[in-house]
Structures are given as structure tokens and as C-alpha cells.
């Protein structure tokens, strides 16, 4: 590009597949994850954890452990818990109703893996030896293992919560809708039970805490999505000033919601560090992660829809119950309400309501996980397929009839959620076209005739991103042009693989008008970056874009003013500034570079008129003008089911997504791929399972099955681009894949097995589950069901 040309949109870095700046260090083993942090004199922590789901602790004998060579201390609840001053999350706010969350178990253990004592030793090996030597006397109590029956249990997980009810929330009374359902030509209902599964980042949790008693400061290195949340939390926990805590995260090995909040072990390390004369490190192992890092997705709900004669939806309700585990973080009611609110999804539904209840159980506590409300899509989309089969209409036709069209927007769903800037029908049609739906139906016909069972499933959803809650409603940036003309941009960060360094330098280079090679980003250190909410709620793209834009715009103004002066006192609006070079419009021969401008700003202040500011550094804070930014997508999946082994093989997988303009298509697509495969895992393989006594039975990766490259199909993508009302028109894209995938997969399996009259209501769809479903269906009289399904299919095809 020659200097005389005006920079155009095509010169922007946003929108391009810019290579990631994170990659060089990560590919060569030079990243810095929390376990890579070594501090002088550091000691290692290991936790003694409950082997029982629920018991009274009647005694703890630490003497043998303490006597072991290399053990420095063994701490129990009495040594730690009294030092909790305040304990609440910035995400929720001081006054939000909260659930119990003691650092160490006190008096009673409430799930297998509940931390009871904390070993501090010279290395992890000795700390593990010592844990074996701590003798805890337990008096077992009957556990509340099944959250679904917890409300009726006479046993209580927490005494202060009668009926094990964490909370309850809902819309208008279900009874209001009785007339609609009573008079509807078709009423369809199903109760779906989703298993517990979870984020499972490849890097487990970990934290290093270093207390400096002489000046009362704490430095923390940790695997987190939100360094500022950890800082504020620690300051409140210890009752020390917020600026006395510094939290540093460089590389975090995946978060997906799990690392949004500091949890109980983190509290232990924060408090214990103030009691021992050495920095402390705790790196969770995978077994601990599976026992105590939390669970998600465990819920069930009765979904109901009423239809008119033509298959138009008249009303939709969901009665929903969610497992909170023993120690949820945060209180699950706040995010759980979204299940009911978004249950209507992208459909025209005149009436509806919901009810959600949350139950404690003696299992690992619920934590946030990518699209925490994902069950709304499971319940709705699976029910729509059941409805299509019941009414005798093709599921695609049923959706076309009911899906919101662009000319109906903006609108609010029947539970009051305000939709705008979404394109559900466009993504739906695009994804079906990529598949060639009609061709697939023909292929299915032939396959069935040949005794092969293939099926197709879809899921279309709308998703609130970048929700402007108290913590998440603003985001800051500081941009400094250094004296040499190189640029540093500081944002709070919390990137856990979300490529935030790369996207931030793209946005900054565009907004300032400099070469991307001249921009570097510093993130994840509370001592040097602006305050920020971290990554969560699919907010990083839009919110950091807002912060960078606002800040860079002001800084660019200063650059232009200085350039105007250096170019001989021309009016500022005659200055062009592109790729770090300023010139006067129309006379490109006279130029001044950003390096020269910066040199003047810092070192030649005496030569500048008083009205020009010196230095080139600006901090800005963007305030969201939106409540949330809606994104939407359609997932389409085809599969083949082996009716003998119950094995599901995914054949094609298509996602059509509208996340607005893309800052970096590689990053967007990577988020969609990753989320989708997590959703596939949830539909088919993953389960955090407990036996009837509350013992976890999936405590290694041999039992908790993550999808591998061998199972995952190629994911084909389509994009529809509708700008949001947020900064740059961007929308969040981090979570959606994990929402859309499970229903698409479940529907594909159900469709493949439709000739057998199989009705799916329990997840995941493991081979054993599918074989059982087939057997049950056979017992119900498969022949009749097959004939009916066949007839329905023929009618649709005709």
C-alpha cells in the first residue's frame, strides 16, 4: 500500500485470519502456566479429602503425618476457616443471596472429595505420602445422592436449607396455561434427564500464593479466567486492601467457565499463605479435578408444548430441576433462571412459562460451564422432534412454520427476553442447504431399506452474549505509545485459549492506525492492567473491542494533534494517519512517523504549545449500551447408529452461526469447533457419575471419556453476519457451540432410531443406553411403531 492511499476497510486487521501472537511461545514449550511458576523456598500443598459422601467428622489425627520428614504443617478447618473475613464474588455482588462455602470441611463432609485437611510439605511427593497418614474418623450419615429426589428426602445436605432447596424461581403460574393446553389439538411433552458433565480443561486448577508479612502484600499466580475477581476475592477474604493483592496469570490451559471463580481450595491457599513463612503451591491432579472441581449440566425438566392443527406452537412450558451439588459456586439460581427464560428459543410462541428449582446433593458442587443454560436447547429442540413425529410432520417443516423471521424482529419472547439482530431462520436454511437435507432423506430411505439406520438432527438456538451485569457491564483498556513509537495495550485479560492477545492487537492496530507488528498486549496482571471482569459470558470480544476502540480513539486524537503541529501547524482534520505514518492530505511527500511523534511527545515537551498534551498514553473505560448481545446458530448433525452394538458414528456435522462480523475468523471458528466437540462429548460420552452411595465412579480419563480425534467428525461451517448493537457490531461466540451440539446429536440419534419407536429421555447416549432403548422399544411393540413411523415418513415425503 502506498503512503498516498487512504486506508480502507480492506486494510483493516479485523476480519482477517491474523496468525496468533500466543503461538510461538506455546508451541516451543515456553508458555507460563501456573505449574511453571517457581518461587524461592516454595512449599507444596496437598489436600486430604473425604472418601465418603456424607459423614460427621469425629476426629482428625495429624500426628503421624506431621512427623513425616519434609512435612511442614498439617492444617484443618480450625486453622483455616476462622480467618475467612468476607467471602463473596464480584460476579454476584456483596448482597446476592449465597450458598455455604467453607474452605475446609468443618464438622461434616458433604461429598466425596470434600477437602478436610491441608498438608504443607517440601514437595508434592511428600505431601501425598503425608495425606495417607492423616487419620480422619468419620461417622457416616445417609447421603442425599440423587438431586431429583432431594426435595423429598428427610436427610439434609445443609441444615439451613429445608427440603434441600437452594432456591426456586419461575414465571407466571403453570395453571394459567391450562386452558391453552386443554384445548390444543396436539400436546407434546417429555421429561429429559441430562447427566452431570463438566468443563474439564486440560490444565487442572492450580494456585501459588506468596504472602509478604512485612508489608502485608499477597502475590498470587493462578489458573483463572478473571485475575481481578481473584484479587478482589482475596482482599475481602483476608480483609486486606485490594491494592495489597496482585494476581498474575500468563497462560491458562482452558477455562470454559470452570475457572471463572476462586473455589474452596483457593481460599485455603490464600489463608494458609499468611500463616507459613514460605510461598505455597497447589496443583490439582486429574483425580481431584474429577472429585472436587465441580460439575455442571446435571438437571432434568418436563418440557411441554401445545400445537394447533397446522403445527403452530400455541404455548411452551418447562418445569426444571437442577443439581447444585453440595457447594455450588456461584449460587446456581442466578444463571439457572436462564434455562426457563430462553426455553422458547428462536420460535414464535405466544404463551409460555417456566419453573426452576435447585437442589443440594452430596456430590461435587455445581460450577459455571460454557452456556450454563444449555438445557433450554436440549429440552426444546428434542421436544420439537418428538412433536414432529407425533403430529406426523417433518421436523424441518415444523421448525420453518414456527421459527422467527427477520421481519418479526426485534421482539420479546413469551418470557420477556428481548431479541434483536438475530437470524435463526437464515442459519437454519443455510445449514440445511450445506447438508442437502432432501438428499439426506432420500439416502436415509435407501439405507433403512438396506437395514442401516442413519438420522439427522438439528438445533437452532439464540444466545445472550456479553451480558452487561454489574461486573461485566464495563471494560477498560490502557494504550501507551512508547517513546520509540511501539505500542503496548493493556487489558485485564483472562484468556484461556481465547486468543485475546491476538484479537486485542488487531483491534488496537486498526483503531490507532498503526502496523500490527508494532503492537503488543499485556494482560493478566492486576498490578499493571486496568480493572476488568475477565473472560466469561462470551464477553471478551465485544467488551474488549469497546474498551480498545474508546481508548484508541482518544489516543489517536492526541497523535493527530501532535502530527498536525509537526507537519507545520496544519489543521488537525487535514492530517492523515495510516500504518504509523502521518501526512497532510493531498501532499504525501511530507511525512512524520509515529516514532517521531512519540519522541516529541516524551522528550521535546519544551517545544510543544501548552495546549498539546505530552506523552502518549490513554486509559479508557467502555460502558455497555446494551443489556446483552444476541447471537444465534443452527447445528445440523447426521449419524449412523449400529443397532446391535448401540454405537453412534457421526457422519456430517454442520454449524451455521451468526456472531456478527468476525475479528479473526480463525479464532471464531476455533471457538465454534471446540464448543461443538464439548457438546458432542456431552451427548455421547462424558458423564461424571456416582453410585448409589455417592461414590464417584469416573475418577480418571479411563472412565470420564472425552472425545478424541478418532470420534470427532469434520465440522463444516457457514456464517451469517448480522451486526449487533454492541461495539463494532460484534457478538460473543465462546459458548454457543457447547449449547447447540447436544440437541443436534440427540435428535440425529432419535431420528435414526425412529423406525423402532425409541424415545430418548436420558443422557448421555452411550452404546449401553442405546441398546437398552432399543430393547425397551421392542418390548413396547416395535412393529406397530415402525409401521406408524414409516407411514408418517411416507406422508411427509409425498
Amino acid at each position: 500500500m502506498s503512503g498516498s492511499q487512504q486506508a480502507t476497510d480492506t486494510d483493516r486487521y479485523a476480519g482477517r485470519r491474523v496468525k496468533r501472537v500466543e503461538d510461538a511461545r506455546l508451541l516451543t514449550g515456553r508458555g507460563t502456566f501456573v505449574d511453571d511458576v517457581v518461587r524461592p523456598g516454595m512449599l507444596h500443598v496437598n489436600f486430604v479429602r473425604s472418601p465418603i459422601a456424607r459423614a460427621r467428622i469425629t476426629g482428625i489425627d495429624i500426628s503421624e503425618a506431621l512427623a513425616l520428614d519434609g512435612v511442614y504443617a498439617v492444617l484443618t478447618a480450625a486453622d483455616i476457616n476462622p480467618y475467612v473475613h468476607e467471602q463473596w464474588f464480584s460476579l454476584e455482588g456483596r448482597h446476592a443471596p449465597d450458598t455455604p462455602r467453607p474452605p475446609l470441611a468443618e464438622g461434616e463432609v458433604r461429598h466425596v472429595g470434600d477437602p478436610v485437611a491441608m498438608i504443607i510439605a517440601q514437595d508434592r511427593y511428600v505431601a501425598e505420602d503425608a495425606a495417607e497418614l492423616v487419620i480422619v474418623d468419620y461417622d457416616p450419615l445417609p447421603p442425599v445422592v440423587d438431586y431429583a429426589t432431594a426435595f423429598d428426602s428427610s436427610e439434609l445436605v445443609h441444615e439451613a436449607y429445608p427440603g434441600n432447596l437452594v432456591g426456586q424461581i419461575g414465571g407466571r403460574p403453570m395453571a394459567d396455561l391450562a386452558p391453552t393446553f386443554d384445548n390444543a389439538p396436539h400436546v407434546v411433552s417429555e421429561t429429559y434427564h441430562q447427566q452431570a458433565y463438566c468443563a474439564m480443561p486440560m490444565e487442572t486448577r492450580g494456585i501459588v500464593t506468596e504472602w509478604s508479612p512485612s508489608d502485608g502484600t499477597m502475590t498470587i499466580w493462578t489458573a483463572t479466567q478473571s485475575p481481578h475477581e481473584v484479587r478482589g476475592f482475596c482482599a475481602r477474604l483476608l480483609a486486606i486492601p485490594e491494592h495489597s493483592v496482585r494476581v498474575v496469570m500468563r497462560d491458562t490451559g482452558g477455562g470454559f467457565g470452570q475457572k471463572v471463580l476462586p473455589l474452596r481450595e483457593d481460599m485455603c491457599l490464600m489463608i494458609a499463605a499468611t500463616k507459613v513463612p514460605a510461598p505455597l503451591k497447589w496443583i490439582e491432579d486429574r483425580q481431584e479435578h474429577l472429585l472436587a472441581a465441580g460439575q455442571a449440566r446435571h438437571e432434568h425438566g418436563e418440557a411441554r408444548m401445545a400445537f394447533d392443527d397446522d403445527g403452530r406452537i400455541l404455548a411452551a412450558t418447562i418445569d426444571h430441576v437442577q443439581d447444585a451439588g453440595a457447594y455450588p459456586s456461584p449460587n446456581p439460581v442466578g444463571s439457572g433462571i436462564a434455562v426457563g427464560l430462553i426455553f422458547p428459543g428462536p420460535y414464535r410462541i405466544p404463551e409460555g412459562t417456566f419453573n426452576s428449582r435447585f437442589a443440594f446433593s452430596n456430590t461435587s458442587g455445581r460450577v459455571a460451564y460454557r452456556g450454563p443454560w444449555q438445557f433450554e436447547s436440549v429440552a426444546r429442540e428434542c421436544l420439537l422432534d418428538v412433536a414432529a413425529r407425533q403430529i406426523g410432520i417433518d421436523p424441518v417443516e415444523l421448525r420453518r412454520k414456527n421459527m422467527l423471521r427477520r421481519d418479526e424482529l426485534p421482539t420479546a419472547n413469551c418470557n420477556g427476553m428481548p431479541y434483536s439482530d438475530i437470524t435463526p431462520l437464515e442459519t437454519f436454511e443455510q445449514a440445511l442447504e450445506i447438508l442437502d437435507y432432501d438428499a439426506f432423506r432420500r439416502e436415509q430411505e435407501q439405507a433403512r431399506a438396506a437395514g442401516r439406520y442413519i438420522g439427522v438432527g438439528t438445533c437452532t438456538y439464540v444466545e445472550p452474549t456479553a451480558g452487561a451485569s454489574a461486573l461485566y457491564g464495563t471494560e477498560g483498556a490502557t494504550i501507551r505509545v512508547e517513546p520509540s513509537g511501539k505500542v503496548n495495550v493493556y487489558v485485564a485479560g483472562g484468556s484461556c485459549g481465547n486468543s485475546l492477545e491476538t484479537t486485542v492487537i488487531q483491534l488496537t492496530a486498526d483503531a490507532l492506525g498503526v502496523d500490527i507488528a508494532d503492537v503488543s498486549s499485556i494482560q493478566g496482571d492486576t498490578a499493571v492492567t486496568p480493572f476488568g471482569g475477565g473472560t466469561g459470558g462470551s464477553r471478551s470480544g465485544p467488551m474488549t473491542a469497546g474498551a480498545v476502540n474508546q481508548t484508541a480513539t482518544e489516543l489517536r486524537g492526541r497523535i493527530l494533534a501532535l502530527a498536525a503541529h509537526l507537519l507545520g501547524g496544519v489543521p488537525v482534520d487535514e492530517v492523515e494517519f495510516t500504518r504509523g505514518v502521518a501526512s497532510v492530505k493531498g501532499s504525501p511527500e511530507k511525512q512524520v512517523t509515529l516514532a517521531e511523534i512519540a519522541d516529541t511527545a516524551y522528550f521535546k515537551s519544551g517545544s510543544l504549545p501548552a495546549e498539546l498534551s505530552v506523552g502518549l498514553e490513554v486509559s479508557g473505560r467502555f460502558r455497555a449500551q446494551h443489556l446483552m448481545l444476541w447471537a444465534n446458530a443452527t447445528h445440523v448433525c447426521t449419524c449412523e447408529v449400529d443397532i446391535v452394538t448401540g454405537e453412534v458414528k457421526l457422519l456430517r456435522y454442520i454449524v451455521s452461526e451468526d456472531c456478527g462480523p468476525m475479528i479473526n475468523p480463525n479464532v471464531v471458528e476455533g471457538q465454534i469447533f471446540g464448543g461443538t466437540v464439548q457438546g458432542i462429548g456431552g451427548a455421547l460420552y462424558e458423564e461424571l457419575a456416582y453410585d448409589d452411595a455417592g461414590n464417584p465412579v469416573t475418577t480418571t480419563f479411563m472412565d470420564y471419556l472425552l472425545p478424541t480425534a478418532a470420534e470427532v467428525p469434520t465440522i463444516e461451517l457457514g456464517h451469517v453476519e448480522t451486526p449487533s448493537i454492541g461495539p463494532g457490531g460484534y457478538k460473543g461466540v465462546g459458548e454457543g457451540g457447547a449449547i447447540g451440539a447436544p440437541p443436534a446429536v440427540i435428535n440425529a440419534v432419535a431420528d435414526a432410531l425412529a423406525p423402532f419407536g425409541v424415545r430418548i429421555s436420558r443422557l448421555p447416549l452411550t452404546p449401553a443406553t442405546i441398546v437398552n432403548l432399543l430393547e425397551e422399544a421392542a418390548q413396547r411393540g416395535a412393529a406397530g411403531a415402525a409401521a406408524a413411523a414409516g407411514a408418517a415418513r411416507t406422508a411427509v415425503a409425498g
Partner: protein
């Protein structure tokens, strides 16, 4: 338990150490040698994050004791790029195809793929998927990784090069 003397070469550098018999190789590399690129994702042999080359063969450093590596030549992810920092063909392919996000699984994938392409320079897609199935990634959905392996194989075929520098060195010896 008395410590045992071992002698290994790690990324070309000779290391002597006296280690407890139960010290796993991954901890020896991470703690004793300060080579923190080798990651631990499960410590029970499933995730592959800890993969290193032991005498040219990919092994799981969480399942091997340091004493078992006595006398061996070890290559970790830190030893794959050129000394001037130029990425290996496999590393470059991962960067070019968005084969990593958080980067925690990445060293294990890069090391495993390096060994795999040595053994099978012209893999089919099924062979690639099969070879990768011993490494877990939670971020990428494997899409970029599979593309990266395919591209690395093509690049190596074109250049006639080898996936690992050490192997090249050995061949020319």
C-alpha cells in the same frame, strides 16, 4: 529409598542427577531440568500432554520413572525448534492451521506428531485421526490439529525433510 544416579541427554545437553527412584520423568524434566514445556494433564497415561521423545520414540513422561531413562537421549518440546527459534515443520503447521488455543495439550501433540510423521510420512486421514487419538485436547475440537498434521506431512514430503531435527542428525551421522 536411596537416590539413584542417572545420566541422560536432554535436547542435546548432558545432564547428571541423583534422583529418587519414584521420581517420574515428567517431574525430572519439569523440576530438575526446568523444562516446563512438558505438561501433566492426567498423570495416568491417557491425555498425552506429557509426551516426550525417548531415543526418538514418543513416550508418556508421566508413566516412566526418571531412572528408567538413564542413558537415554530425550527430546522435549523445547528441543524441536531450530536453535535460532525457527519453528519445526510440525510446530509451524500447528501455528498456520490454528492447531492450538490454550496451548496446554500442544507440547504433547507436537511431540507425538513429530514421532508419528517420522514413522509414517504419508498418512491417510484415518491414520492421522488414529494416531492423534492418544492425545486429548479440550479447546480445538481437533479440527485445526488434523489439518496441521496433514499440512506438515505435505510440507515434509515436498521438502524431503524429516519431522525431527535429531532424526535428521542421526541419519547424517
Amino acid at each position: 529409598m536411596t537416590d539413584v544416579d542417572i545420566q541422560v541427554r536432554v535436547n542435546g545437553i548432558a545432564r547428571r542427577a541423583s534422583v529418587p527412584p519414584r521420581l517420574i520423568l515428567a517431574d525430572f524434566l519439569r523440576v530438575n531440568c526446568g523444562l516446563t514445556g512438558t505438561h501433566l494433564g492426567c498423570e495416568h497415561g491417557v491425555c498425552g500432554a506429557c509426551s516426550v521423545l525417548l531415543d526418538g520414540e514418543a513416550v508418556r513422561a508421566c508413566l516412566i520413572f526418571a531412572v528408567q531413562a538413564d542413558g537415554a537421549e530425550i527430546t522435549t518440546v523445547e528441543g524441536l525448534a531450530e536453535p535460532d527459534g525457527e519453528l519445526s515443520v510440525v510446530q509451524a503447521a500447528f501455528r498456520d492451521h490454528h492447531g492450538l488455543q490454550c496451548g496446554f495439550c500442544t507440547p504433547g501433540f507436537v511431540v507425538s506428531v513429530t514421532a508419528f510423521l517420522e514413522e509414517n510420512p504419508k498418512p491417510t486421514d484415518d491414520e492421522i485421526r488414529d494416531a492423534l487419538s492418544g492425545n486429548l485436547c479440550r479447546c480445538t475440537g481437533y479440527q485445526g490439529i488434523i489439518n496441521a498434521v496433514r499440512a506438515a506431512a505435505e510440507a515434509l514430503a515436498e521438502s524431503g525433510g524429516s519431522a525431527s531435527r535429531d532424526a535428521t542428525a542421526k541419519e547424517t551421522e
